[in-house]
Subunit: 352 residues, 2 copies
């Protein structure tokens, strides 16, 4: 059995779970390598993956004997089989944050389980701590993102639309990685005042501010970086805000390490922004891994502790409605004594 | 209030629901036009949309006074507000097929609701019947898909990789529509034997078979079409299988109309395939609308009835493991007396 399934079985034992139904496809991919539609059952004696005709051949191609996972075609599983999977199991875990209420009721009926137990994101929590391979993949995704950004600095010219720029970034990622890890944001001029806007047909103008939020996937793992750049010159009225965002982004990098409290990290930025009459209107950051947004969530509403080998973002921003916005973001590896920024593009005033 | 919210309120009355919590963002977009993160509450007297700082400005820009929807910033909603929303409501509906078990428990606590009632996909079911505008948008998405396919027939040449072809399709859709409605499938040679494969670096060769499954979005609505084409010539051993798939695809088009039973439609194809020693290993089709896959699902496991103004796909396929596959798919509008194929690309042997 692979190390991740072994970890899961040990954890289940410690939680007094004799079985578990894993439904979240990202968790299944994490545990088995299979990226398809199906469910993974951890029964007393076996690991069972149930999928449909479309994925049987594929699932077998991913797995080795070493994985000790039996693949079933869903059409071959009888009601009796369902009832046998968890027979004599006192407690069977399920993913209450992924499984819908309707599915929960269906599981209860189909598997005839006495006690279906909430597992409180155990797999998602384990996924926050990256192993050596995972860190290597994210690091590579970040390096490709730095290269893409540095190419884009030579590519972007006044007269291009936000959409054209976003497509060039996507083309770069298609050719040098496994495509984008999320929809690229290119927000210029007043559009930059909306943190989650989509690229428009607005053309880049002289003296524009441009916020670019970009990331790619490499071996299934994501990168995430934002830079705010300028065309021709940095307008004087933007400088204090850019400086304030950068100061706080840097401050967070200085503070982040194994043991840091995510609420405190965020509160510090919120307070400094408020002292200057601005607000942090979104979270300070989030975990990055197989998903672009995953645990831990770094905001003043979340009281969690950063741990060694977590990978998270640090992305404060200030948005002046209808005028402009500034956001600066790195993807960061947490270590025992501090943190290492995996995205390394320059953050001083960048003028194209 | 718009016609869709009016419909919902009438339906709720007939189901004895005094309130409803709508959490599925696609349903919220359908009812309000808002494409963001938040929840929509239909209370006795008001329609309330609760979102966060990122989307407040956007939500206001989408809504008009006529919509009668009040937008709240989640940070301004107190525990007392939550308890007041559904005060004196006997039954409050929720989307049990979207809401997770954990969210269900959270709603119970937060809103202090006596009876949270399953609503059995009422909004998804209503979404299956398209109005005039929705049909217009899907029709346009299908026309763009036909144009893209006819362009691709002139573009594809031996030596190109599947990925290059998929990217050209995506480029076409980015320039002529709102991008793809799902990840384009370009499966050549033996890759075509896997119905859900992703484009690879395999180069197109002489005498190849190529299955292309493609679709775009227009005004938020999807198209979906598959064609299987040939390079240089149609190998004799493939012809009987191509003919069998096409015959059945055409037969289904002849049978589909208001009142058709989806299980029967599928069983007919399954039986004809089996008579020839093949199997239909996936569903026969699915609804198409704001989502690429939505109700109704057309398979032998689903007993539903097609209705006028539904838009569905008809996509039988045969796959010979490790050798090749053939799939032919149209997006189709159901009418009182028959159906109209909205994708119109030729389906006879197509040789490039």
């Amino acid at each position: 059995m692979n190390s991740k399934l072994t970890w899961l079985r040990n954890t289940m034992t410690s939680l007094n779970l004799q079985g578990m139904i894993i439904s979240n496809p990202i968790n299944i991919k994490y545990l088995t390598g299979i990226d398809a539609e199906g469910i993974l059952l951890i029964t007393r004696k076996e690991n069972v993956y149930i999928t449909d005709g479309r994925y049987i051949e594929y699932a077998h191609s991913v797995l080795t004997l070493f994985d000790e996972i039996i693949v079933y075609n869903i059409t071959d599983v009888s009601q009796e089989d369902y009832e046998n999977f968890f027979m004599f199991c006192e407690n069977v875990g399920f993913e209450e944050h992924y499984v819908t209420y309707a599915k929960y009721k269906e599981y209860m009926h189909k598997f005839k389980i006495n006690s279906l137990v909430e597992t409180e994101n155990i797999i998602e929590k384990q996924r926050t701590i990256k192993d050596e391979d995972e860190i290597k993949y994210i690091k590579t995704a970040c390096e490709i993102t730095d290269k893409c950004f540095s190419y884009m600095l030579t590519y972007i010219k006044p007269g291009m639309t936000e959409k054209e720029i976003a497509r060039e970034i996507e083309k770069f990622y298609n050719e040098n990685a496994e495509g984008v890890s999320f929809e690229t944001i290119v927000a210029s001029g007043e559009n930059s005042s909306k943190p989650h806007t989509v690229p428009s047909d607005r053309k880049i103008q002289d003296e524009d501010i441009i916020t670019i939020d970009m990331g790619c996937k490499y071996k299934g793992y994501c990168s995430d970086m934002t830079r705010t750049i300028f065309v021709g010159k940095v307008p004087e009225y933007i400088k204090p805000i850019y400086d304030l965002v950068l100061k706080n982004q840097q401050q967070v990098l200085d503070e982040m390490k194994d043991g840091s409290n995510t609420r405190m990290l965020t509160k510090n930025v919120e307070n400094d922004f408020r002292l200057n009459n601005y607000d942090l209107i979104h979270a300070l950051g989030h975990g990055v891994g197989m998903e672009i947004h995953e645990r831990p969530f770094i905001s003043s509403r979340n009281d969690s502790i950063l741990k060694e080998n977590m990978v998270v973002t640090d992305e404060p921003g200030i948005y002046i409605s209808g005028q402009f916005g500034v956001r600066i973001e790195d993807t960061v590896l947490i270590t025992k004594i501090g943190c290492i920024s995996l995205t390394e593009s320059a953050k001083n005033y960048t003028i194209i």
